[in-house]
Subunit: 349 residues, 5 copies
């Protein structure tokens, strides 16, 4: 579940090894190429066709889906001059978010996050290479969070159409961080639901929910925390990121801090919910045991009394009395009531 890395031990650095779950299906390459006036959105089938985008003046967004085709990824790497160590990171789908600069290229890696239909967190790694007017994004599966960006690119009069590829890169990252907000929103709802349940009617299921929530928060934290550093480094990447875009990256940085803040807040809250769960359950249990024990404790002395007059001694004066039986009933009732009020007064029941 929380696979760390599938990095194959013992291979030479720069060897490309896909580390995700078994995958098939062909590689898909989608190109959105635009200038202020024109937009083109197409799928290409041959990796070699990418060569034309290396020195084109229009902004090209090349989205490569299916990084388990390591040979193809290697070819893409050669075409755009990407360092083998970076390619290795691209096909290792369990990397830590990071940002590196290699000559004129900037390489960033983030995790896109979504809840699958079983409400389990899924991570889809997005690798991004930013070069001369192009942005290449690599991912394994079809899932992405970029539709709004595509819509803006295809619309007219959007800022994105007038600016260069660094703004496109920012827009993609912004979409990912926006996505974190939805995830946190969803997590927050889960947390509220659990909190509600714990205060009202805690059970074994709540415990497993809290446990799952805490693990999810650990995973979110692990994957979101380094994003702060990524965006901070991006801000300091001069040449590749134009200064006009920096104002936007500042904003993105603020959003990341806010997300991290929320993860921490949720962690504290989930710890506090766990505390409350334990206390509530233990209080409830104690209440029950107390009442049960009180019932036993009332009847045990009474049974003793009946036991006494169940003895078969030949000479037991009370037994001979005409009203002995009723007197004993009186005593039993009196003792029972007295015990009950005794416990009542002490607030034990």
């Amino acid at each position: 579940m929380h696979k760390l890395t599938g990095k194959k031990v013992g291979l030479a650095p720069g060897t490309l090894v896909y580390t995700g779950p078994k995958a098939k299906g062909p590689i898909k390459i989608r190109i959105i190429d635009y200038t202020e006036q024109t937009v083109k959105d197409e799928y290409i089938s041959r990796v070699e066709d990418l060569k034309q985008y290396v020195h084109k003046d229009s902004v090209s967004w090349i989205n490569v889906i299916g990084v388990h085709h390591t040979d193809m990824i290697e070819k893409v790497g050669i075409i755009f001059g990407i360092h083998p160590l970076i390619l290795e990171d691209i096909v290792n789908v369990h990397s830590r978010p990071k940002l590196e600069v290699q000559d004129d290229l900037m390489f960033a890696q983030l995790q896109m996050i979504y809840y699958n239909s079983h409400k389990n967190l899924q991570f889809e790694q997005l690798s991004m290479v930013l070069g001369n007017h192009f942005v290449i994004t690599f991912q394994e599966n079809d899932f992405d969070v970029f539709d709004p960006v595509r819509t803006r690119i295809k619309g007219v009069n959007w800022r994105i159409r007038k600016l260069d590829n660094d703004y496109l890169a920012y827009a993609l990252m912004d979409a990912i961080v926006d996505n974190y907000f939805s995830i946190m929103e969803e997590t927050g709802e889960v947390l509220d639901a659990i909190d509600d349940q714990v205060v009202k009617k805690p059970n074994q299921q709540s415990l497993q929910n809290i446990h799952k929530l805490k693990r999810d928060l650990v995973l979110l934290r692990k994957n979101i925390w380094p994003v702060r550093e990524v965006i901070d480094k991006m801000k300091k990447t001069d040449k590749i990121i134009k200064s006009s875009t920096k104002r936007f990256i500042d904003d993105l940085y603020d959003h990341t801090i806010q997300i991290i803040d929320s993860v921490e807040t949720y962690r504290e809250m989930s710890a506090s919910i766990l505390d409350t769960y334990h206390s509530t359950l233990s209080n409830r249990m104690n209440e029950i045991m107390k009442v049960l024990t009180v019932i036993s404790t009332v009847f045990i002395p009474l049974t003793f009394i009946t036991g006494v007059y169940g003895m078969n001694f030949r000479y037991m004066p009370e037994v001979e009395w005409k009203y002995g039986y009723f007197i004993i009933w009186g005593i039993i009732v009196a003792v029972g009531i007295w015990l009950f009020f005794f416990f009542k007064r002490r607030k034990w029941v």
Copy 2:
């Protein structure tokens, strides 16, 4: 309850989206404009009328209430030259406290805090833009903590009338931080009350009170902690904040540290109260169970004795004895007393 952000996913950066709960009611714009000699306090109805305040020499405090009118906010932004990303933050009422400088404008965002009638914490975001002799404050609801500032502005001979808009901005922030002191005071009283209850007579309700207190402290911390940074940045904002005001901002900074100190102290104290709650409850429960169990334990052997003489064996010598019954009563009483003192001596009862 602890909504993070309502930021709509997928919109272009700089798109204004109001993120608070559903709201209606018109936008209200209140202007307090003053020089050392004159004061004017009025509501205006047309956003366009604000244009005159851009280059006026008197100090103008423009208070805009109802940020859900995003179109109006956009117009205000255009009139005063506020960056769209800042406007986006203004209408997003769940931002993290922050301070940014954009050319000649300083933008600050803080949360005003109050307990509503259900004793729940409420946050009312205040955004403040400080420019050329004007201070614009944006908020969603009518609640604010600025009446004392208004009183001082309208009075005569107050320092505020003689100074520029940076002092006004300071005065507003100071009012907000003062408000934190009241909130902490109120929280401190809640904490004392819970502490008292926990030591004297803890119950399930105390647990929920502690739980609520801890959540409130988490929220307070999340919203107050960044204020420290905001004020620190403000101190370092040269041109816009005059050096004569800096002495006051130092003081404000000290107050913020003191508030943060108190939040931390309260957090520790509430953790310690929770500990004590658990221990006290568990001690009390243990006491009860011990006493109940002792009662059962005394009577069970006694019942066994009566059981013995309740058997119907044809030949049971004791049963035939004349004083058998009384002897057994003697034994029962002796065993009972012995057990009681045995437990007493061991301090089990």
Copy 3:
């Protein structure tokens, strides 16, 4: 109890508001004025008489007791040119320890700490203004820790008589930090006593003692921790603090670190004592419940046996046997012993 601040919300910065408990009694001003050759120790009644000390060459220690006379404090402030924000801090008796430099004046604020007769921690705020050959100290109540300093001033041949007011300020601070050592010593004894009690004979009272100890340590920490910063700043205050005094301030700094170290150590120890308390109590409880339950468990099967032969069936062969009764007694004793040894062997009893 742990009042944060009584700062009145909504007043203009620099307004003097006394925030302590209701107080009466006149203001008292005691002046100790000395040179290497001469000493004078007197009480004055008119604030105006202080004017002569502003430019005197002898070292003057002006001790103002009763800061609830805010009008008097204001006059003192005017005479010595103290900033209104500093005066505000002086009369607010719940400030955080701090140090500020205003032109030629240095302002420091510390808490003197003592246990009152109920063994509750009391804080008495000391504000100190250091100017041209004078030191003014402000406090609310009579309690102080300066008698040893007064003794040294009045003695002859003490270093203090030969040095300027910065050494006097150091000597006062040193007396306060020395006082922290006594407080820690006393707290250490309380901790040792509780530790002893918890290991030997823990009870509900121990719990409340630990709870109180932990709260006291939280308060001590809150008030002592910032002292480190105060003294560090003092060391860096050039002109006002002469370089010859700095060696002493270094020493003071070391003492403060040592005090803070001890507070932290005590916090850890008290947490560890709480753990031990819980474990010991729970072990003890478990022992008791185990023994009680074992007793019940031995007798319940035996009672069952007697129950069997208490049945009234017409045809029960054993009942007719001559030695049935004794055989059953044998069985009962055998079962009882067997159960006892069974539990014994398993170390349950």
Copy 4:
């Protein structure tokens, strides 16, 4: 198990003392010497034969196995000019990972980690001295993780054959860090297995597994955390590490961070598993005790009823009734059912 150090107290600095468990077997020295064209892999028997490698131009990897031969190690040290304090660290097999530069030599020390057949963590210390075209590695036992590196050296066309000894040193370190990934993978599987067991069927064994896991993580953390610093220092070691190799070391650094991240994540997860273990077990126990107590509580009042009619009073009207027995049965059943539903309704059973 978690031996710290066997450093013999009281010896002069630089005295070589082997600190591992008792060892025998001869020292083994394996030399892999290569240029782009040639490779040689041989064992030598005389330490003196190493002299030729001090100034050779080919890259030499000298692997010394059996550091308990301190006299041999000393000779090696003399031949290559290694400082006695470094030799002392080499033979002390419980050192903290570190990196030092001594003139033209770089000295690094790391722990290779593996699980032995009893699934216990084992640490094998690797010391590495990097000099003029040679890399000397010292270790005590045969275990190493370098086979892939040897394979690459012996293969043709691998990058390693074309580069100098700094790349060899990197490759060895990379192999060690890769090995950490396997260890973490294995630890992750253990953690998953425990998690599964704890959620489904926790028992005393799970507790010991968690305890062992936590200790292992403490040990891993202690040995892996400092590696970060080692690699950071290595990056900054100019002359010895050529700039072409630095890109690879950056990558190694990233991997180390990722490992450390995972150790921390696992620590949090194991803490959370422990919590869940406790809660699940305590819930389960509570359930059982509740059911058992309910059973007792139902039958104790019923037994009381039978006790009443087992009394031997001469005059007990019900006993004489014809249907008395059946009426009592009716009452017993009614009370039993009522109690059962009473408990049922309150969800106690």
Copy 5:
């Protein structure tokens, strides 16, 4: 036990007050004076005789035992020109480890640690003054860890004989830090023993052992942690510490880090052992209570059955049956077995 300081409150700075337990016995002064060629080891009786060592060219190690003779210490201070504040620290035997430079003197203070015969940690403060070719060490009791250093000094051909007093100071510190290794080793053995006991057979004694271990670790941490800083400062003390010695101090620094690492590791391990102790004990207790309760729960319904047939109703058909008694026995056995298997199947027993 964990005395903080015995600093007498209210004395002038620089007043010498011995703060240890009551002590008697004369002051002892041992001098070891050596050059490369000569060694002299003698006790002197008059403090005045020390004057010759102030400007001697040989290296002199002056060991003063019995710092409660404050008058003597003061004389020594005057002879070697030691600042009164340093002398104050020397006679206060509860100082925090520290290092100060006063003109040409370096002053360092460390704690030597040992377990006494009751296995309690003891601290023996060592103060060291390093001047012109001399090292003066002050301590209260005879205990020290320097015998190996003395042996090396008296031997021939040791490095120490050829170097100056800064190397001697290093050698003494190294001996102290080496001693920490033994202490940690011993503590580690205690920890292992407790761990073993807790996993196998936890009892109340284990709890007290863990509690003691945790306190010891708190004390060790408090006294060892600052040593890091001491040695770091020493490394930066130029003139007094010659650059040739710095290589050794680096090594010492590494050892200190390793010790601190171990203290932290032990702290975590002891916390984890405490957890395990609690869980194991609580599991064991739960097992016992479960079995006992199961036994009661089986017999209580059976006793109810016997109770039914112990009733004395005139008309009870079963009682008249010939095989009634045996049928009931059958029912009792059946119910008993059924209950047993019911509990068995649910794994309650």
